[in-house]
Symmetry: C2
């Protein structure tokens, strides 16, 4: 009789675990069944803003893999099924068939807890008015796209929250022709990901693109008439709005984990060891609901990125399949864009470094995306951080024109290998005038930090 793997939550973390376990074990050895609350497993949440903007035209393009495709791999996916309880002693889950409104139980040998993250429910009066939307599940993207496609289309959009989703949704509404305002409680945009001076610089550049950016403002109420939103904010800072997007961050979805008795880490996510095992035998966790070790500080963190969810899922699946692979932690490398402006980051911010007790050296400089003499050169600003004690690069942030952003990968690769800035200076990177200066900005970052640190290592 085969063993059974139950996946709780059928998105990036869970389904990647499923496919990797399947690669290692036949259907005769291991039955795999995934329960997903929504209508769709394995969807690209990161693509939602681009579906709203219309740049990704078809809804199907958001679906990474269908239940039928998983079935052909010998993975059973039950959508609109929610796991409501996990009995870790008996190794049995209780599942609710949402449309059928009935419950049943399923035994498991292995379980992957992969419930993802949920929108942070910031207390905002009027958040349930018509025309006010969160952006989290595919249904949200469908709803907002339908509003934008309807006639009359909304003319004024307000996005509450200056994080990745907020920024991407502001771009989407602006692309759709709405007068768009983004309201950030921080001093700039992407304040969690960038140091203050980069965050402020980004706000200035986004403003220059024609998007209204309000910083340092916390939205506490949304006004409406006849049940439909009319404006955001109360008192003096009121902004008229026909459509409001709430993008005030995400938090690990751990309610069931808590009820089940899985250990919750200090970060608020499900605690896992480097093999993605939770505190309970047979139960693994992967994705946004699980903690991840920050490679720079060594501390557990919540980093909600599809890249990390997928990598964790892969390793959980390999280990469930009988393998022995450790997840080496993350840097929080991320990239996004607003029209032609690219933003990327990796490693720790200055504030995070200081909080971790690191004596940090910092440089900020302007470079060009190509050689300076190339006509299409656009400017890019780079901020890079090093640990004075080890002379290692520990963080980097980039804001610039086309091709600026993906340079973060070379920096992340260097940081992953714990390179000193002195060693980085000599790395043989590519150059031709349409692509960079002789010293790519990646190397310039190392040289500038060398100058700040003094000496040559």
């Amino acid at each position: 009789m085969p063993q059974r793997l139950v996946i709780v939550g059928g998105d990036a973390g869970g389904m990647t675990a499923a496919t990797n376990a399947r690669r290692a074990r036949t259907a005769e050895e291991l039955e795999i069944v995934a329960f997903e609350r929504s209508e769709w497993p394995s969807f690209s949440a990161c693509s939602e803003p681009y579906f709203v903007s219309g740049e990704i035209e078809e809804f199907d393009a958001l679906l990474v893999r269908t239940p039928e495709e998983f079935a052909r791999q010998g993975i059973e996916v039950r959508v609109q099924h929610e796991v409501t309880a996990i009995d870790t002693a008996a190794r049995v889950v209780t599942v609710r068939d949402l449309p059928g409104a009935r419950e049943f139980t399923v035994g498991y040998d292995f379980l992957v807890y992969a419930t993802g993250a949920e929108a942070r429910r910031v207390a905002i009066e009027g958040r349930d008015l018509q025309g006010v939307h969160e952006m989290h599940v595919l249904r949200d993207a469908l709803a907002v796209r339908a509003i934008l496609d309807a006639s009359p289309a909304p003319r004024r959009g307000v996005v509450v929250g200056g994080g990745y989703v907020g920024l991407e949704m502001a771009e989407a509404l602006h692309t759709r022709g709405l007068h768009t305002t983004i309201v950030s409680s921080g001093g700039g945009l992407l304040g969690g990901a960038l140091d203050p001076e980069m965050s402020t610089h980004l706000a200035d550049l986004v403003r220059a693109l024609g998007i209204d950016v309000r910083v340092g403002q916390r939205v506490e109420c949304i006004d409406g008439r006849e049940g439909h939103v009319t404006s955001v904010g109360c008192g003096e800072h009121t902004i008229p709005a026909d459509l409001v997007i709430l993008a005030t961050g995400t938090t690990p979805r751990v309610e069931l984990a808590r009820a089940t008795g899985l250990r919750i880490g200090a970060s608020g996510g499900v605690w896992v060891d480097d093999h993605l095992r939770t505190s309970v035998p047979g139960v693994y966790a992967a994705g946004d609901c699980a903690e991840v070790i920050d490679r720079i500080t060594g501390a557990a963190a919540n980093i909600h990125l599809a890249t990390i969810a997928t990598k964790q899922g892969r390793i959980a699946g390999i280990n469930i399949g009988g393998g022995d692979e450790a997840f080496p932690g993350a840097l929080g490398t991320a990239i996004t864009k607003v029209h032609d402006l690219e933003i990327s980051r990796t490693g720790v911010t200055e504030a995070a470094a200081i909080a971790a007790g690191i004596d940090v050296a910092v440089t900020t400089f302007d470079a060009t995306t190509t050689a300076g003499n190339w006509p299409a050169a656009t400017s890019m600003r780079v901020r890079a951080l090093a640990d004075r004690a080890t002379r290692r690069m520990i963080g980097a942030q980039i804001i610039g024109g086309p091709t600026a952003g993906k340079r973060i990968d070379a920096l992340a690769m260097a940081m992953w290998n714990e390179m000193t800035v002195d060693a980085m200076v000599n790395v043989d990177l590519s150059y031709a005038p349409p692509f960079s200066g002789t010293w790519d900005p990646v190397l310039v970052a190392a040289r500038k930090l060398q100058a700040v640190l003094g000496g040559s290592g």
Copy 2:
């Protein structure tokens, strides 16, 4: 009395040595004088094709730094001055003032031999006809640009040689509206830099851009009438031409080094140790004339790239200035483009790996430059190589649409750190749909090699 540093050849290697020595030593401590045969020191040879194409409009944009700018740093640059002899016993160089047609001698304490590379003089009948040009010094770029700007402009251009310069010059002529043919003696294009199947693929893609590509043809003669070129090739493969560019490769310029008694390495370049010291005390070498250690094979090689020349020059200058820095070798990371098609490479080719006795594993796959669901996705082909014994990635080649090429830097950074493909798989690189799939092609390359190697490390 100050010591004196004499720079023989005032381009990337030499002038970078000069500025780095100057940073470490005041003018009171060290006099620096550079002798440059041509009219311009420190020019961007890599930009020449783009000046010819007109994309870089102004000639001044090719000049990195003028003699006046160097003078302000306390570095004397004497252009149109050629060092004709080096007496290493007396530490005296003989210099010829080319316009003045007189010779004089200058003593030195340190010398940097940085004469660069020269065009390989392939035996081709008719190579001195009017309308036949090499592309090496700035004067060549000026001459070809003048021909293209003149009326009537040439209509048919033929480029002999399928290397970087050949490819870039073919693009330039094509951009200027010429019916352009590129003739390569190899089976494809960039045959020295790419494995045969990538080289052939590139030839196909360049053809699809409207450039006539002839492979496997060696040009032995060029025909002309009234002293001006009329066609390339003799016998059956004749190609009509109004303008011919010879780009048949470069070779280290070592004649003076040989006469001086500097040891010449097996690669044909000036032998240097890891501090860029030649075999003769007080004499350093940097740039295209000097050997460089290939980090993958450990063998000395000729790699003629501005990036390497600059890095070698920097280290020679630091060491002359009293520092102690070693040059860690190179990977031969390079990038170029033909219109929207980007080509990049790093590390060893399969042939080079085999020649070095490496048991090599190879993968070639097609990916997209963005997420697959992104409308602007263009295809990119990646080829990656690993050492079966160590499971390390040792080479990579990329051909694809916009943004494909610079990914080579992340691969080079991984190879620089001698990462196994197993370790690479988990590296935290950036992702968003406009930039890549959840697994960037860099990581996919590692995963594909893992599959070829078997096991998980």
